[in-house]
């Protein structure tokens, strides 16, 4: 399931939802937070392209299920105004197998970073995309 929302998410709640009775062997969770990026600003704003974002995230989720034997997957991305220490993004995976859960979780956040139409503005400046993020996404897409 994927959700784009302004309000915060609850890691404990999302963790519980990933568990499937009797079959879950492992859960891997990634949670991204706002670091202290500047002496001059303490908040950032996240803009997105509604409708396209949902479509891209759903595709990322579907692709992960195709690549690995997964049980549940969850992506949450916040938009709007966020402050330092706020949670931004949640990616969670449950599986019978821990390796599949690790790979799928890392895959989803790596691809999200380069394909999902979100843009961050820190203080008055739009954040620049990182080459390193493109490199890790390319590594997934060529294997």
């Amino acid at each position: 399931m994927i959700t784009i929302q302004e309000h915060d998410f609850d890691v404990a709640h999302e963790y519980q939802n990933l568990l499937q009775k009797n079959v879950t062997g492992g859960v891997v969770i990634f949670s991204g937070l706002v670091r202290d990026f500047s002496e001059h600003h303490d908040h950032l704003t996240i803009q997105h392209y509604p409708n396209m974002t949902e479509k891209v995230l759903e595709k990322i989720e579907a692709e992960a299920h195709q690549r690995w034997p997964l049980l549940e997957t969850r992506i949450i991305h916040r938009v709007g105004k966020l402050s330092v220490n706020d949670q931004i993004v949640f990616v969670g995976v449950s599986s019978a197998h821990r390796k599949a859960a690790f790979l799928a979780c890392e895959y989803m956040i790596d691809i999200l970073k380069t394909q999902a139409p979100f843009w961050k503005k820190e203080g008055g400046e739009w954040v620049e995309a990182k080459d390193s993020d493109n490199d890790v996404a390319d590594a997934w897409l060529t294997k």
Binding site: Q47, Y49, I88, L112, K113, W119, W126
Partner: protein
């Protein structure tokens, strides 16, 4: 209008072009993404950013390349590289 498309601009592009969206009338039945960018770039120097290789575009919510066909009623978007997550 029958030959209209909807164009959306996001993030730094929306700021530098000073708009979030616009209706745009196609002069032909269809054209590709590169032709649209070239036509918009004739509006002035600040519009040449659309031809910058780093600028991304989508047609009907799917990432587009220069060859992607655009038809009346389509939703086209232009935006800088994404920075979510």
């Amino acid at each position: 209008m029958k030959n209209e498309i909807n164009i959306l601009y996001f993030a730094s592009l929306a700021e530098s072009l000073n708009r979030d969206d616009e209706k745009f009338e196609l002069k032909s039945e269809s054209l590709n993404s590169l032709q649209l960018k070239k036509e918009l770039a004739t509006r002035g120097q600040e519009w040449e950013v659309l031809l910058d290789p780093s600028t991304r575009s989508s047609v009907n919510l799917v990432i587009a390349n220069d060859d992607t066909e655009i038809k009346p009623g389509d939703e086209v978007a232009f935006f800088p590289p994404v920075t979510g997550g």
